[in-house]
Each structure stands twice: as C-alpha cells, then as structure tokens.
C-alpha cells in the first residue's frame, strides 16, 4: 500500500494542514505513509510559553467543562463522525486490534464522556471546589487555602489501545490544564479526531484552546529540546516508560515533573482447588481466557503468565496441561468484541515456541500464535522469553508454594487475576507489598460478565498504583495572616 494520509497538527482550536513548503512524510505501520505540516515550524503553536494564559480555563467552571465534554461525547460516535471513521480505518490498518474489538473500543468512547461519570471522576480525585476556587483548611487553619491549578502538560501516549487518547484529553480538560499530545506512530489519529470534534463544536472554548496534537519522531532532538523546557512544560506523562522517555530524558531538568507509566506485565494466580474437578477447571479456564485474551493480549492488564498451585510431578502436570487445553478451548468461544483469532502469526514468538517444543523435558507446548496457545513449564519457573508472550499465548507455571510467586513481582506487575476467590485472602497482602497494583476476579464462567466485572471500577480509581489526576495539577497554598481569617470567618458568620 502506498497511500499518503494527511495528519494535521492541532493547535489550540486551529487545524494546520500540510501544505506547499510545509510538509514532512513519515512511515507508519501497515505500510502507510503519513504527511503532516512540519512540526519544527510550529513549535509556538504547540507549546504555551506563558502559563498565565491558562486563566481562561481557570475561570471556566468545572460544570461548564463537563457540559462541553459531554456535548462532544455525543458526537464521538463512529457511525456519524468522519474523523473517527478515518482514525478507525487507520488503526485497523495498523493491525494492533481486530475489527470487532476495535469497534467495541470506539463504541465505548461516548461513555467516557458521560457527564455523571466525568463529574464523579474529577470530584473524587481532586474535588471540584479545589479546581473552581480557593478552599480554606479546617479550623484553626482557615487562614490557609488551597487550590488545584492547571499545568502545561506533554503527554507521550501509547497507541496500542485508542482509549489512551480519549483518557488524556478528558483528564487534561478536567484538571484545567494545557495539553500537548505527542501521538504514537501506531495510533496517529485518535487524539486528532477527538480534538477536531471539539473544534467543530466550539473552536473558541477554553478546553479547545488548550489542546495541541502533533506527531514527530521520538528522539527528534530539534523538536524535543525546544519543547521540553521548564519554561514551556510543567508535567510530562509518558506511557510506555523508558522506551518513550529515553530520548526526552536528556532534556529533563528540575521543574519538570515526570510521570512514567511504565510498561506493565500482568499475570494470574490459580489455586489448587481449580484443578479438583472438570467443572471448576472450566470456570478457571474461562476466566484466564478472558483476562489473557481481551484486546487480543495487546494491553498491559492482559495476563501472560499463569501461576498454578501444583506440584511438578508428571501426574500433577497432566492436570495443569488439561487446564491449558481448556483455556485454549475457551479462547475459541470468546465473543469477537472481546477477542478474536490473530490476523497474522507472530513469527518471533512462533520461533521461540518451536525451539522449546523440541525438548519435552522442560516444556509442554500446544497451540500456535493464530488461535492461541500455551506452554506448561515442567518446573517452577517461567519461560525465558515471557516478555514476548502475545497472540493469546500464555505460560502456565506450576508452583508448589503459590506465595513464591512474589519473587517475580515488582513495579511492572500491574494486574493479577485470581481464582478461586478463596485464594485471594492468602495472597493479597503479600502481592501488595511485592509491587502488584490491582487484583481482579476471574470467577463466573460467562466471558462477557467476567470482562465487564473486571473493568467496572468506581470513577477516579488509581492508575498503575498512582493518582495521575492529582499529580497533574499544581497544589497552590494561599497562606494569609491568621487574624485575616478570623475576620473572614466572622464576616461569613454574619
């Protein structure tokens, strides 16, 4: 394919298209060529050099911001939004997610802009009062007030799941912040499409006036040295951790706060009760199939390694292999909106699987990278290439003492699925100390129900163990003389 797709720069309510003498091309995924206006010529359109210009957003009540986002949400419907259709087509071409899954993700966009959800999100994380005004502390400190003030942010977003783009825009608007989004090459259009929808709704709205979106190649020093300066950026959020900040790192200096959303790696833990009957084994297998298979195992929350409470003798391992076969069968029954067979083989992973399949003393391999597969370790350790597990291939590791799993947990261990629930109490506190950030249920046996259950969280819950919204504002203290507060209070009392 040699089609050229124009990706405009979005600059605070303006759309800058590539044009005569102002165009650069770059290679995208899936053989596409992208063309955009030269970002080097638009540095000043991308950054907000003067933070005081955030005054318009500061003076916009949160309620208005929520209403504006909610109005935009109504227009973020794939069926009638041409920008989203374009971004959808491109994401599909990039090949990260299968069509039904991607459609499900896009169909979910309006829900992310639901006014009740947005209000709860901002109120539970920061508190609307703190964003809209100064909030005095409790007596006897009422002379000290606190306000959450918006900042100038650079977001280097991940492209494997397009919700990241929506999440970034919502979080920035709700924190009354100015945001520059550096798009990833594997999803160059979603943030763009949302921003263009906002422009069509109201190009002069303060939210619209504080969103910029551009693509440049990570590591472009001319770009990054211009942007990443304490005079232009207060906060950086980097998805993908080191791989995305390794270039920018050299420009980091005190005054720029970095939130590195590290690459994450997730797993499941299965108690010995799950191997006791065919029926419970089925239920466990369905849970594992959902948590490892949703979004076709492209997300950080997807299980890649399954630790099973089991001895390592041949008879015990046969039960673990039986569980693997049930997982494989469960993949085939997942609804397409959750998971589908892979569009293409993963050749690197296939080569690894083929190599270890030659030696049955250590591993048992079944399945493939098209329909899903599993590797049973015949001893208590994960495979050496666990970092490459993808395409719905999991590694089942027998653990005589399930708590030994803690040795492999650290900050990169994000989500842990547990089954049965009776295992939870035995592992919860140890896993928390070991670095794990989220422990989710696998029970139920119904894929849609399990999927929804593990994703249904109250608004504003922590992300990767931290609270990104609270961290992305500046908490400013207005400390007045004590007697003035007394006067204020007495006035208020009258």
């Amino acid at each position: 394919m040699s089609n050229v797709i124009d990706i405009p720069i979005i600059a605070r309510g303006r759309i800058i298209l590539p044009g005569e003498g102002d165009a650069v091309e770059y290679k995208g995924r899936g053989g596409a060529t992208f063309r955009s206006a030269d970002p080097h010529k638009h540095i000043h359109d991308l950054v907000l050099g003067n933070p005081v210009l955030l005054g318009d957003l500061r003076d916009t009540p949160t309620r208005d911001i929520v209403d504006f986002l909610a109005e935009a949400g109504k227009r973020l419907r794939l069926e009638d939004n041409v920008h989203l259709q374009e971004s959808f087509a491109l994401a599909l071409q990039a090949g990260g997610l299968a069509e039904p899954i991607l459609r499900g993700v896009y169909d979910d966009l309006p829900r992310m802009f639901d006014p009740n959800g947005l209000t709860a999100l901002v109120d539970s994380t920061i508190g609307i009062a703190y964003l809209d005004g100064w909030v005095p502390a409790k007596e006897p400190h009422a002379n000290v007030s606190l306000r959450a003030v918006g900042t100038r942010q650079l977001h280097i977003t991940a492209g494997n799941v397009p919700v990241v783009a929506a999440l970034t825009i919502v979080r920035a608007a709700l924190t009354k912040s100015d945001v520059l989004i550096k798009s990833p090459s594997n999803d160059p259009l979603t943030a763009n499409a949302i921003a263009r929808t906002l422009i069509e709704l109201d190009a002069e709205h303060p939210v619209t006036r504080h969103i910029a979106v551009a693509y440049w190649k990570g590591g472009d020093e001319a770009m990054e040295s211009q942007i990443v300066r304490p005079s232009r950026i207060d906060k950086i959020t980097a998805w993908g951790g080191m791989s995305s900040v390794q270039h920018i790192q050299k420009f980091l200096s005190p005054g720029i706060d970095l939130t590195a959303l590290n690459p994450k790696y997730s797993m499941s833990m299965i108690g010995k009760e799950a191997l006791e009957s065919e029926q419970v084994m089925e239920e466990a297998a369905t849970g594992i199939a959902v948590i490892s298979g949703f979004y076709n195992q492209t997300a950080c929350a997807n299980t890649r390694i399954v630790y099973v409470e089991s001895e390592t003798d041949d008879e015990s391992l046969e039960r673990v292999i039986a569980l693997g076969r049930k997982i494989l069968a469960a993949y085939q029954k997942l609804p397409p909106v959750i998971s589908t067979p892979a569009a293409a083989r993963n050749k690197e992973l296939d080569a690894e699987l083929d190599a270890i399949a030659l030696d049955e003393d250590f591993y048992h391999v079944e399945g493939d990278t098209l329909n899903g597969g599993f590797v049973v370790s015949r001893f208590s350790d994960r495979i050496d290439f666990y970092g490459q597990l993808n395409n719905r291939v999991v590694n089942l590791v027998p653990m005589p003492n399930i708590l030994d799993v803690a040795q492999w947990c650290d900050d990169s261990t994000q989500t842990v699925g547990v089954y049965p629930e009776s295992l939870r109490g035995r592992v919860l506190d140890t896993l928390s100390l070991a670095g794990v950030q989220r422990i989710v249920p696998l029970k139920g046996g119904d894929p849609m129900h399990i999927f929804e259950d593990m994703h249904r969280l109250p608004p504003g819950m922590p992300h990767d163990g931290i609270e990104p919204m609270r961290r992305s504002v500046r908490w400013v203290i207005d400390h007045r003389p004590a007697e003035e507060a007394a006067v204020r209070l007495s006035v208020a009392a009258e």
Partner: protein, 462 residues
C-alpha cells in the same frame, strides 16, 4: 577442469585449496552440494534426537531439492532452548541431558561428579572428546555449539585455508607475531578458536600477544543478569555462588572500566617493540578503530615491516557507528593497506572470506539459502535479499543446518569481479527484523529491560 570431490565426505573438501573450491562450475557445485546435504541429513536424522523430532514434526524424510532442507534447519534459538534455571542452579545432569539431544555422541556416559562451574563442565566435555563452545547474545543467555573433536580436522583445515586467502600469508609456513586486543583462553567460540588455531599460526604462545591473559568465565557471562538483579535486591549471598566467582566478577568489572586505557597502553608498547618487524594484528573492527583513532589523534603511525597483516573479526560489530572512512583510517594508522575480513556464524565451520571486490564468498561446504518474510525459500538467482540459512554438511556429531538472524544480500551468479565463483554476500549485513514497523510504536504492555551493568562494561566486545 575442476577438482574431484566426494559427496559423502565433505570434510575432505577442506583439504583442498580455497581457490580450487571456488572454481567449481555452478551446475557441478550445486549437484555436489545437494548430494552432500542429502547424504548428511539421511545420516544425521536418526542420530540427533532434536533433529529427529523436528523432521518428524515437519514430515521431512528425504531431501530431493535443496529447499527441502529449510523446515528442518534449526533456528538459532535451538542451541539455547534450555531453561535458564538449570544454569542458575548449576544443574549439570539436566544441562548435559539437554545437550545430549543435540549431539550424536552419548553424553550420558560422562561422569559429572564434582562439577561446580560451567567452565569445569565444558572442560569435562572436552576430556570426553567434545569441543563444545559457547557464544552469548544480547540477552546474555549462552548458546552452546555441540561440536566434537570429530570436526576438529576440517575446522582447522578450513580456518588455515581461509586465513591464507584473506591475508596472502600461509600460516603453515610463515609464523607471524600476532596481537589480539582481547582475552585469552576459555570456551567462548572465538577464544577457543584462538587456542586451537591462532596460537599455532603465530608460532606458539610466546608469539601470541593478548591484552589480558585471562578470560571471562562462562559462569559470569551466563549469570550476569541474575547476579545483577540479586545484587539490586541485596540477595547475592543467596545465589550460593563460589566466593571466588564473586571476586572474579569484581575484577572483571574493574578491568572493563579501564579497558580502553589498557588497550591503548598495550598497543603503544607493542608498536614500539615490533617496529620494523612483520606482524599480524587481529581484533574486532571497533577495537582496531579505537586504537587507530587514539593513535592518530596523538600524531602517531605504526612502522611495521611490509607484508604485515590486518585481520578484522567479531562479526560486523562496530560497523554501525563508525565514520565512513574508518577502514582507511585503520589501514593508514597501522601502515597496512589490506584488511582481511570474514563472515560466518559459530554454528557453521565454513565462514566466508571477503574477496578483492568486497564480497563474502561461501565455500562449497557452506550451502546458503535465503528465506523471505514468510519462511519460504527465495530464488537462487540474480541478486536477492533475505534471511540467511546455512547448511553445513561436514559435521557428524551435530546437525549443521541453521537459520540465522541475519539479513544478507546474496549475489547468486558466478559474476564476481574477483574471479571466484559461487554465491557471494554483499558487505552490508543487518539483523533480520520485521520490516513492517512504525518509527516509534509505544505500548503500555511489556517487561522492563533490566539494566545490566556487568554486560555493559565487560562483555560489550568480547
């Protein structure tokens, strides 16, 4: 008229002059190669358990066309498909049992009592008649080539032969004092070849000069990642390693930090001492360039006698970041206007010397096949770029068919300006990678690359 070569004994081909081997007309050569591969596969299929398993899985019984061999070539990962845990636990029975599946020799007969290190294990294997060497890739995991003394003869004949055509000096007759800016001894493939062949070529140990007279033990190479993470957690004591090994690690780290200065001082001394004499200088391209650059910066040039030799090694390392004229700078500094160069992998005996025209020519006992993205054989005609598979029909103790991770551009016609016939690869060789890739794809999933101080400092160019 071309020479007569027996298809059922390709080891004997290595006894011939390289020039004669690359003079065989194409049709004759390809018929001979197919026959040799056919015979070797038929002989080895039932004798190497891992090959037998792969052949059964792929349903390959016989080889009728050379492409038929592709499905039964070992991916380079096969030589390291053991669980890292058995190295960490120094479980030598399991490690031996693993290696046993890759060789025709019966390793179950080896007495493994008293072994505590991988180095000792490799020594025990050698005493049994094996010649197992290892290499370590970017992950640090060791891959073992299960060669034995059965291949020693052809390996040596080939090595001397190829070095003669690269340098113009016959090492059987002319012994040149040799400098190598690296380690000495041990079982790392290049270092083992040094002990087996290069020292003899130089005329003995006293004529072979290395930067250090020790080497990094295989144990340190294999466990470096594990030791680093244990050290981070403050648990290095729990690994149960020999205190001597920990001490060695410290020494190696220190040595690694001073390596550049050591190398410059060492070369400076040799350059003075051997002024006006004929010498041979070997090393990785990056080391040779580093020495040359530092010398040139000080306004120095070497004054060795005419007929001295420069020999680059260590694969293509150092090619990437060097300036375009690095090779000229190296030649200018050493005062030697030809630099020998070879390409190959440790799994195959027949590496390819570079000709006058700048191409790597494969001897007939290294049968190249190119594979496309989908693993299909590419046409053996014209000029093609693909993933290199090499089939070596010589070994009788291990299977010689290997799929590499290298992308090469192969010229298939007998049209090289140098006059040598046979398939020849262009100088630029890259890692074979998926071609479809955005510039900087970012995802939230993945494991963090553990930063590995030890490998960084010490093993970079070993």
């Amino acid at each position: 008229m071309s020479i007569s070569l027996p298809a059922d004994n390709p080891a004997a081909w290595t006894y011939r002059r390289f020039e004669d081997l690359v003079s065989i007309p194409r049709e004759e050569r390809e018929t001979l190669q197919l026959e040799a591969v056919r015979i070797n596969f038929a002989r080895m299929r039932g004798r190497i358990p891992a090959l037998k398993k792969l052949a059964e899985r792929q349903g390959v019984e016989t080889i009728d066309r050379i492409e038929d061999i592709l499905p039964v070539c070992f991916d380079h990962r096969v030589l390291k498909n053991y669980p890292l845990q058995i190295i960490e636990n120094r479980d030598f029975p399991k490690l031996t049992q693993w290696l046993d599946k890759l060789t025709a020799h019966d390793l179950t007969r080896i007495d493994l009592t008293g072994l505590t290190t991988i180095e000792e294990w490799l020594g025990r294997l050698e005493a049994f008649g094996m010649l197992v060497t290892y290499s370590s890739g970017t992950t640090g995991k060791l891959s073992f080539v299960p060669r034995s003394y059965d291949e020693y003869g052809p390996w040596k004949f080939h090595f001397f032969n190829v070095n003669r055509v690269c340098s113009g000096v016959d090492a059987y007759v002319t012994k040149l004092p040799t400098f190598f800016p690296g380690y000495r001894g041990g079982y790392q493939t290049m270092l083992k070849m040094m002990s087996l062949f290069n020292v003899e070529m130089a005329g003995g140990d006293e004529n072979y000069h290395t930067l250090y007279d020790t080497h990094i033990p295989a144990d340190l190479m294999a466990l470096s990642g594990r030791m680093q993470s244990a050290e981070d957690k403050g648990e290095i004591g729990r690994l149960g390693l020999d205190p001597a090994l920990l001490e060695q690690r410290k020494t190696m780290l220190e040595q690694g930090r001073r390596r550049d200065q050591d190398m410059e001082m060492w070369f400076a001394r040799l350059i003075q001492e051997f002024k006006g004499r004929r010498v041979k200088i070997g090393g990785t391209f990056s080391d040779l360039y580093r020495v040359a650059r530092s010398g040139l910066d000080k306004g120095l040039r070497c004054e060795f006698a005419p007929g001295s030799i420069l020999m680059g090694g260590g694969g293509m390392k150092g090619y990437k970041d060097a300036p375009d004229d690095w090779e000229d700078q190296v030649k200018y500094f050493f005062g030697i206007n030809k630099m020998g160069n070879q390409y190959g992998f440790s799994e195959c005996i027949g590496n390819a010397p570079m000709c006058e025209a700048g191409f790597f020519h494969f001897p007939p006992y290294s049968v190249p096949i190119l594979m496309d993205q989908d693993g299909k054989a590419m046409p053996r005609e014209g000029v093609q770029t693909g993933r290199l598979v090499l089939v070596d029909p010589i070994p009788t103790s291990y299977w010689g068919g290997f799929t590499s991770g290298d992308e090469v551009t192969m010229h298939w016609e007998d049209d090289c300006d140098c006059g040598w016939k046979g398939p020849h690869a262009a100088k630029t060789i890259r890692r074979f990678a998926e071609k479809e890739g955005g510039d900087d794809k970012i995802t939230c999933a993945g494991s963090q690359q553990a930063y590995n101080e030890f490998m960084e400092f010490v093993a970079g160019d070993a």
